[in-house]
Each structure stands twice: as C-alpha cells, then as structure tokens.
C-alpha cells in the first residue's frame, strides 16, 4: 500500500504546497516547527480540509477537491497517533484498545492479544489511562490506532512529549511495527535522531514546501539538505551486520567500507543495525593511518564536495552502495587535495556512535 499526497493550503501568510508518496515502511515528514508537517497529517486524517488537493491510498481517493470528494475522518481508516495520546479516560486500557476494532471492518478479536503483546501492554489491560505513565499511554495509543485496522498509520510527533528514557522505551516498539506491519507509516518529527533510526523514506519540509524526498539514507546524506536538517545534526545512516562479540567488550560489525568495532551491542551474531554516523565525528586521511587510537578505519571514495560559506566543507563519501558524510575544514580539503574520485580513509572513534543512534534494521 502506498499513500499519495498532494496538497495546497493557505492560512494567513503561510502557504503549504506539498506532494509526495509514502510507500510501506516509515515515511518521516521532517522539518522545523511551522514547516507544515502537522497540517499535512491532519489533512490526510480528514481533520483539516485543504483548499486544493488529492490524497489517495493505492489509487483509492480519500480526498479530491476537483471532484469534491472528501471522506469524513471515520471513513478514511487512518490510524492516528497523536502527540498527546488522547486515550479515552472513561475506558480501561483494554476498552481503549478495542475501541477502533468495534468500527473496523473484518477485525479479528485475536488481534488484540497479539498487538498488546507486541507493545508490551499485557499487564496494563485492566488499568485506566489516568494511572499510566506518559510512555505507557503512548504505547496504548499506538496499539489502539493499529487495532482500528487502518490502511495507514499517522504519527504526529508521538515521542515529543516524552523524556529521553521514555523515548528509548518506545523506539524499539516502533521499529518492530515498521518491520512487522506492511503499512505505510507517516511519521512527523523534528528530531534527526528519531528520523535516522526509523525512517525508510524521508520527506523534508521547509516553509510549507517539499525540498527533498526519497530513500532516507540518500536524503540524509545529501549535503544540500544539511541547512534544513541542521549542521550539527548532519550525518549519514549506514547499515551494519553484527559479526562477533569480542572478549574486551567490543562488538565487531561488518559494513560496506570494512569492519568496525563499537562498544558492546545487544543482539545475536548476524543481526542487522542502522548506524547514524555524524559528519562531525568523521576524520579523513589519504593514506591508511597507523599508530592511531581510533579503531575504525573505513575505505571510501569521495563522491562530492560541498563547500559552504564558512571555513567548513561537507564531503560525501561512497562505500560500495552506501554513503557517509564527513565535515572537515576547507583548509584540509586544499591541503589533502580532496576532490571527487579520490580514495580516502574515513576514521571513526568507537565511542562516537551514540547508543541512541543505533537502531534495528529496516
């Protein structure tokens, strides 16, 4: 199933003009606050009527202003997870979860225990929303949306209201959903870390316009997108496979640029990971460095250079099919004669990959 969105909407001085596709997997709508992300999601859910537009899922239109088609929210079957869980206070967790099942066509009663299990909600079922923590509420809200048997899941910053430990509690569940459900998930976020962990497709919004859209790894590694994402947050996502747990507490992973070692990762040999490597954590050398404390030296070729206005330069590296970003100074670019096609070694400290930017594989 693929969700196709094309919207034009004006309110006040703000104009939203967005067209994109969300295939199965997580499509992250990323942008600063006020870039129009929530407007898009509300229009998809049917809570906001845009001036012009067409929204369809697998060719079935939900909204088409040309033919004056506008399905009301309850006929769209979009599972919406709000930032503020919005659980029904007069119902138990079990009843909240079952709420959408009641209205859903061909829902199965066996789904509830399965989803409750997937989200770790079993012990919470008889409780009332008022007694749940923020993270628990959000998990119930996610389960409730899934059990309404939706054609697509909409998540509007579902983690924004939670503190870091709660976020860390929910992220693995979201990864499991992404990998186990064949649904398009439209995920609104302004956190690069969340996007890097979850997104398979990335749509960058800036001032109501789509400035880039495509596979998440490609968009994130596009130096032209750095101003939108923020320089400090610039970085690429690479995939890695766990090869071995070594005796000194490090885990060895295989990437397309060679082996790397990271502090112990949970998981079995053979497990896949997505690693977000920040551009500012990558050093470059034109010959293989020796006598250096950094353990990870990856072989890559310079793909593109992006010189900014300041003293810095952003360099896109290719390792096999994957892309890595490095931020160095312009002086180093000149001193090392870096230019497209030059083979380099990318150096990465084992401890510089933050635990929260290591996610399960898509």
């Amino acid at each position: 199933m693929t969700l196709s969105v094309s919207l034009h909407h004006r309110f006040g001085t703000f104009t939203l003009d967005a067209t994109f596709d969300a295939p199965p997997g997580v499509t992250a709508l990323f942008g600063r606050s006020g870039s129009g992300k929530s407007t898009v999601v509300n229009a998809v859910a049917g809570l906001l009527h845009p001036d012009r537009g067409r929204i369809s899922i697998d060719g079935t239109a939900l909204l088409d202003t040309e033919t004056r088609l506008n399905l009301p929210p309850h006929k769209r079957r979009m599972g919406y997870v709000f930032q503020d869980a919005r659980l029904f206070p007069h119902l138990t967790v079990q009843q909240n979860l079952a709420y959408g099942q009641w209205f859903a066509p061909n829902s199965r009663t066996t789904d509830l225990p399965r989803i409750a299990d997937l989200l770790g909600l079993g012990p919470l079922l008889p409780r009332r929303p008022g007694t749940l923590s923020g993270g628990e509420k959000q998990r119930v809200a996610i389960g409730r949306a899934i059990l309404s048997n939706p054609r697509c899941l909409l998540m509007d910053e579902p983690l924004a209201a939670l503190d870091e430990p709660r976020k860390a509690e929910i992220l693995p569940y979201l990864e499991r959903l992404r990998d186990e459900l064949a649904l398009p998930i439209l995920y609104v976020s302004h956190s690069v870390a969340e996007v890097a962990r979850l997104a398979t497709t990335l749509v960058l919004l800036d001032a109501g316009r789509v400035v880039a859209a495509g596979p998440a790894a490609e968009v994130m590694a596009d130096p032209a997108m750095v101003p939108v994402m923020g320089l400090r947050e610039a970085g690429a996502v690479i995939s890695a496979r766990l090869v071995d747990h070594e005796t000194d507490g490090l885990s060895r992973l295989e990437t397309q640029g060679g082996p790397i070692w990271l502090p112990h990762l949970p998981g079995q040999t053979g497990a896949s990971f997505r690693l977000r490597i920040l551009a500012q954590d990558v050093m470059l050398a034109t010959s293989r460095p020796r006598d250096i404390s950094a353990l990870n030296v990856l072989q890559a070729t310079i793909d593109d250079l992006h010189l900014g206005d300041g003293p810095g330069a952003l360099i896109r590296l290719r390792m096999g099919e994957e892309i890595l970003l490095a931020r160095v100074t312009r002086r180093s670019v000149q001193g090392l004669n870096l230019s497209p096609g030059v083979p380099v070694f990318a150096i990465l400290k084992a401890v510089s990959v933050a635990q929260e930017s290591i996610g399960g594989a898509a």
Partner: protein, 232 residues
C-alpha cells in the same frame, strides 16, 4: 410520617413529586439537545435561543405563568390546537403543572449540561472519529459518558427546582386541591387561613427534606460518576 400528614397534605406532596419527576425527565432530551446546540453549534440566532432559554430565570414567575396561560390556555394558540387535535388540555390540570415546572427548571438543566459539554476536550472526539466512529457514535461512546455527571446534576437540579416552583404554576394551573395543588401551593393556601400554621410547618419540613435529599443524591452520584470517568 404517613400518619403525620393529613390526606390533603399527602396529596400535595405526592402530586409535587409526580409533577417534578415528569418535568425533569421529559425536559431532559430537549435540555440535552439545547445544551449541545448552544455549546457546539454555530448557527444564526444562537444568542436568541440562549436568551429564550434563560428568560424564565429572569422574568417574574407570574409573568412566565401568564405567558403559558396565553399560549397553552384553552383559548391560546397552542392550547386550542392541542385540545382540538389530541384532546389534551393543560390549563388547570396537573399536566399543566408539569409544563410550568419544566419551563421554569429548563435554564438550570441546560446550564449544567452545557458546562459539562464545554468541558469535554474536542480532541478526544477527533481521536474517536479517526478510529472509525461516526458523529453519532462519537457522541454515544465518548461525549455522553463524559458529560454524564453534568446530565445527572442538571436533572436533579431541575427536579429540585420543580419541587419548589410556585409562581408560574399557580398562575397557569391555579391551586385546586388534589389536582393542581403542589407542595408550595398547599403551604401558601394553609398560610392564608387562620390556624393553618401547623399544617404549613409540616409541609415545610417535607419540602426541606426532599430538597436536601435531592442535593445529597446529586452530589453523591456526580462524585461517583466523576471518579469513574476521570481515568483513575
């Protein structure tokens, strides 16, 4: 207590209870609809409706009673039609007392329910609609349970107000023992005759008891329901 009241007094008490019960139950659907319209709908004449609903609260009750008589009396526009088409006569009947009590209690009921509806977060209703509930089902499964304390409070308040209604009732349906003589009318009548103070006093005690019981009941029910829907 049964022996404590004379048959006349007893008739006044039971009539008042019956009138108040019917008045509060029959006006509930209208009160709910009016409260919902005032709280949620934007329509032309909303302020006019709001004013009309509150009019009995502000007007002298005798004026409300007189207007009822003009409208629903045998020669009144509506009264004539009711008489001819359905054979229903309200003026000087206990059913008329129900109408008078209902009209007088209506603003209190609408206010209580309207406040409850305005306290419901529309975001919860939006969430229900994205989960597949049509507007009707959103109302039944989300709005209605959440405003239940307000509905109960409004109904019991209307009942208590109806128990005490005097001016409009006596103007519209007079003060006929056994037919339209409600508790307040009976107290008034006893106070008009020499030596009626004792009888009036007994009815005063009954009036106070019923009013207090209604208040306690409404508090208790509202608290129980509020606890249930607070999500604790």
């Amino acid at each position: 207590m049964f022996d404590a009241l004379s048959p006349d007094e007893w008739r006044a008490v039971t009539l008042s209870l019956r009138v108040s019960l019917w008045a509060s139950v029959l006006s509930l659907p209208f009160g709910l609809l009016t409260a919902y319209a005032l709280a949620r709908w934007n329509f032309w004449g909303r302020q006019v409706l709001n004013g009309l609903v509150h009019l009995p609260l502000i007007l002298p009750p005798v004026v409300t009673g007189y207007l009822l008589l003009l409208t629903f009396g045998r020669r009144g526009a509506v009264g004539q039609l009711l008489d001819q088409w359905f054979g229903v006569v309200l003026a000087f009947r206990w059913t008329g007392a129900v109408l008078a009590a209902a009209v007088m209690a209506f603003p209190l009921m609408v206010r209580a329910i309207r406040l409850a509806i305005e306290a419901v977060d529309p975001k919860l209703e939006q969430a229900a609609s994205t989960l597949g509930a049509s507007r009707f089902w959103v109302f039944v499964t989300v709005t209605l349970p959440l405003i239940l304390p307000g509905i109960l409070a409004g109904t019991i308040l209307a009942f208590a107000k109806a128990m005490g209604e005097f001016g409009a009732t006596i103007t519209f349906v007079s003060n006929i023992p056994g037919q339209t003589q409600t508790l307040p009318s009976a107290i008034y009548a006893f106070l008009q005759v020499p030596g009626g103070d004792g009888q009036a006093m007994r009815l005063v005690v009954v009036a106070i008891t019923v009013a207090m019981a209604a208040l306690f009941l409404s508090e208790w029910v509202a608290r129980a329901v509020a606890r249930r829907i607070s999500g604790q």
